[in-house]
Symmetry: C2
Subunit: 291 residues, 2 copies
């Protein structure tokens, strides 16, 4: 089996200044020790004049994170025109501005006049959003999945530098395109959504490969992003599987070496390669817990 080399549009950049910091501590023997730890800062996201949330992030793509978060929370629709994304590094604030007031802002104001804070409706809106999801029947070759897993697991990343990181990778065919990392996995996914939104990238021929479990939140986000295939080395939750089946999302988990389990949307899979042809996972590519 040919193993391609990844050509990321955006790849992890673990050496980027400001992502990690050396911190001095004490080890088990009481001896001084230096540790490289990942930087994490609060970023407050505004939609026009409305303060939305403060997210903890490694701070590499505040624009993608803000737009992606708003989009994935259903606060910014694909039809609403973004006129500016203003990032103030000192204040640690990013404002996403739109041409006209968003539906979300209208609804929020209406809700607060009647019944107080609108936080609780966000979940309800997300679930409603799922009703409108119509994922395409795009075929996916298992040879692509194996190639993706191999390339991603051998990509040097911030995780390998300093731990404490989750990653998610947007892929097309057997090619990883955009590899985002952050302290919280939802940030990594939101950054991808932001990149797609800002760059007008279509979702129907994409695959999302992620660290961590395929929880209901992960499945919902992927479906709302219009991506028909979600894959991970890790496991599932029952509700994640249920939602995936409802919306017709292909969910592949427990991907290790030649093995995987598909608990939803198996009809998209084209098993075009004999699993015994897939190279065993070299021990060093088996990253514990993350990718």
């Amino acid at each position: 089996m040919q193993l391609p080399r990844p050509k990321y549009l955006i790849g992890p950049n673990p050496k980027r200044p400001g992502l990690t910091r050396a911190v001095q501590g004490v080890d088990h023997r009481g001896e001084p020790v230096d540790l490289n730890v990942v930087e994490e800062r609060p970023l407050t996201i505004y939609l026009n004049r409305q303060e939305i949330v403060t997210a903890m992030t490694i701070g590499d793509y505040p624009d993608y994170l803000a737009v992606g978060f708003l989009r994935n929370q259903g606060m910014l629709s694909d039809a609403e025109e973004i006129t500016a994304i203003d990032y103030d590094e000192e204040l640690e604030v990013v404002v996403v501005r739109t041409a006209s007031q968003t539906t979300f802002e209208e609804k929020t104001q209406k809700k607060t006049r009647t019944s107080g804070c609108a936080v609780g409706t966000v979940f309800g809106d997300m679930m409603e959003g799922l009703d409108q999801v119509d994922l395409p029947a795009t075929r996916v070759r298992t040879s692509w999945l194996y190639a993706l897993a191999h390339q991603i697991n051998t990509t040097p990343s911030l995780y390998l530098e300093a731990g404490a990181i989750h990653g998610t990778v947007l892929c097309q065919g057997d090619q990883p395109l955009v590899y985002m990392e952050d302290v919280g996995r939802h940030n990594a996914v939101d950054k991808i959504a932001g990149w797609m939104r800002i760059n007008g990238i279509k979702s129907d021929d994409k695959i999302l490969y992620t660290t961590g479990r395929l929880t209901s939140e992960m499945v919902i986000k992927t479906a709302l992003m219009g991506i028909p295939v979600l894959a991970s080395r890790s496991g599932f939750t029952a509700w994640g599987v249920e939602i995936a089946r409802q919306v017709g999302l292909t969910c592949i988990g427990r991907m290790k070496g030649k093995r995987f389990v598909c608990l939803s949307g198996d009809e998209r899979l084209e098993r075009d390669i004999d699993p015994d042809q897939v190279p065993d996972e070299a021990r060093k590519t088996g990253r514990k817990g993350a990718m």
Copy 2:
């Protein structure tokens, strides 16, 4: 070194009905396969009449989760009297009722009258709450930390059954007391906070042992819970370390076998045992990613 057996007040109960479900899928060869996956349901939390949030949870302790969440978000102070915790299993709603309107509810109403949704202030309130934190100078023996790690890593848990779970354990001396798990780690921590609040458990002689990284959120929660020591197998983030040092929290990470790194609050540690006396970690106790 004597290795004690844990006597949990609340221990993980992986066999508890309803925590996992068998789901049928298809493997890499296209063969049917059954997988045990963890159950995860939405739980909507109310504080009196105010809808606060919908959390995804395995659903084992909705009362502890609700109270702990509200407490850790600064919405329910230790002074405010809880009169009832009403859980409706069918509606998947839990209402925490207090004797009188909470300060949070007053502030929220005030904020929404003036400036819309109050979501964005929660972070600010949390940071302010840290100013009031005064953690005790309690001494902690490293022999306790090693004993705790050993007991916790060998405890059968839902993670071992079905993956997809994070855990956090409240400990005292060398004794694990309360082991909570959930799909999201913050839920596990909140359940512990809820248990402590409802049962009037003091925090100053406790240790919190957790899966996953010692992020700023984890450090903030631990400090706001009044617990002076936080430990994990995993790594740190720079801001988590900074906050820990500001509030005087002892943070121990990268705990594996005899090794660990303390990046904050080393003055609490009493190295009462030669690390070379600590048994090597048996391979099977090394749980990938989680504990």
